[in-house]
Symmetry: C2
Subunit: 367 residues, 2 copies
Amino acid sequence: MKKRVRIIDVAEHAGVSPGTVDRVIHNRGKVSPEKREEVLKVMKELGYERNIAASILAKGENYRVAVLLPDYNEDPYWKQPFAGAEEARKQVQHFGLNIEYYFFKLLSPEDFDRQARNILKTQPDGTRPDGILFSPLFLNEGEELLNKCDNLNIPCVIINTNLQSSKKLSYIGQHSYQSGVLAARLLNFGTPKKRTVIILNLTKGSTNAKHLIEKKEGFQYYFDNYGNKKVKVVNLEFEEFNDNEKLKTFLQGLIEKYTNLSGIFFTNSRAYKAIQCLDEKIVKKIKIIGFDLIESNLNYLREDKINFLINQNPIEQGFLGIQTLYKHLVEKEAVEPIQYLPLDIVVKENMQYYQKRGYQVETLLTA
Amino acid sequence: MKKRVRIIDVAEHAGVSPGTVDRVIHNRGKVSPEKREEVLKVMKELGYERNIAASILAKGENYRVAVLLPDYNEDPYWKQPFAGAEEARKQVQHFGLNIEYYFFKLLSPEDFDRQARNILKTQPDGTRPDGILFSPLFLNEGEELLNKCDNLNIPCVIINTNLQSSKKLSYIGQHSYQSGVLAARLLNFGTPKKRTVIILNLTKGSTNAKHLIEKKEGFQYYFDNYGNKKVKVVNLEFEEFNDNEKLKTFLQGLIEKYTNLSGIFFTNSRAYKAIQCLDEKIVKKIKIIGFDLIESNLNYLREDKINFLINQNPIEQGFLGIQTLYKHLVEKEAVEPIQYLPLDIVVKENMQYYQKRGYQVETLLTA
DNA sequence: AAATTTTTTGTGTGCGAACACAAAAAAAAC
DNA sequence: GTTTTTTTTGTGTTCGCACACAAAAAATTT
């Protein structure tokens, strides 16, 4: 148990005052080059490490982080990153990280933009947030926010949807392409003969389509290279998924057209919307793969109407997002620019274990 | 951003000195009942919360935690909990938690016991560890260690194998029974007709058999209640798995005997030992499910010789184990007595994401 | 060469809790 | 009622860092 090296130890060895060492550590300038070099050398020699507890105490509660997510009342999926962030907040609040939440309307780029402006507005005390966690569902507006933050020197962590921009501190989420490959593998597993599989995208055009395209490509790739060569892949999209009648007509059309239909891969969390519209017997004959452990999907998983759900760890996304900002701001540690979360294969028999933090979502939101 | 309530605030409101409040908080006795009550009341009223950073700083680096695991040179699986613990150590070392590792010979209860005694020996400075993390592979010796620690008031976190004893702070690991059910589900998925499945236990009698029995029961339960009713389940054990010739003979015997063999479920990480001995064509005809993402298994997963691996998150077990002790000792927060980790279904297409921390295992151990 | 400005370096205080020790109050012994 | 002992309460120092401010040294100006 080697005793820690302190600033004052470094100062003594370097023949300077603690104040000078402090200036070197924090780059507060006003240090002559020679002393600067000497201090850096001694720090390395002695292996100086900042005492984080003392640092936090001396600094006071100072960091402000803004979290911008879709309003979860419109889509229960978004409860989960929120819950994860809340969980992390409880831990890091002791160490000087405070969090403010902002919510935008799920399908409205305008609202996203409005909230983003709110976040960046200077407070009465003249400050801006020290970090932002958000999900860039809209490509342009997301990039714009990243750019603004880059100018203001505010680190951003983005979750769920990746942007190519290098102006982010870190991306946390799934590898879209690979999730498509995985879905294909699972569907292929239950498709021995010459059959048809459908990849169906229930979404409106306005949202960031990039990760949906990647899923499709991954899905196609698997069947082209590894899967049962006799399987035909059909690629479809349907926008009016909120109109039950239209959706029903659309789906029945598919069933009639593709008589040798083996399975459907839903590219997002809306598998349950389709299953609602279909006859039980038909559903059970088709293999169905969807995304996300939201309650409506889980119910169908229990009833064996959905065969597999792929979990993209939304709770963990929120949790890790806050943790990453904490690491960067408070501990000043380097963070990974891309943090891919596992693609969990969820069936009835293991679903319970992926909802652990999920329990708190409910209690949290009714409070 | 409400300002924090400090001890001195509580003291003022209660009309006592900070020392008295301190005594109440730490139960250092010597406080008159009236003042004690008053202080507690005020603490609740003002919502006092300990400033953890200040607390850690004032206390100094004080906590010592011992970690007792099997020697990973004998079984690569055990590299993983070690790596997880190391990862956690890096984080909590800043906050006053120091870790010492002890290793015991995998199949030797005597060595486990010897190391346990080492751990509990008082140090030159008269102290014992403040907490212990271990894996109670041997039922009796594990219980004994728990009992001793209970007497000495040392909190214990156990991983991998559960013990019924209530004298543990927390268990972290899988739900054995449910993992059996899950394996059955996956095997059943690929078994349409009247066939035979084998559940095979490659182990020596000496280790704690309890979680193996639970796996078997879960496996059987699924086929009895939900699975294909025409499947016959055969329950076997083989001890001399390290003798390739004998194992080969044994397995070929099985193949000949059960001509309609559909799949084998290996109850631990030794699936690879069996596959080594078998002909490629035969392996590919049989569905194989095993446990644990060790390199030999992963290779066979890549080659499609193993269909599914169930991951019991050994890295996370080590990581969470240390975190749990940190929470208990340093943050003094309540911890969950049982923390079940997910039963991950791993195939070729998602295996990479479950090894994230695993990468560091290699670099760690060659250093 | 003295006075002034600018750059560089050193000193001191506070953050909040833990713990040792001193002081005061209460109880017991005489 | 005084002294001694025990219980209860209060005070002061420490942990290591951040940051404000004071002091010293160097560079400019006069």
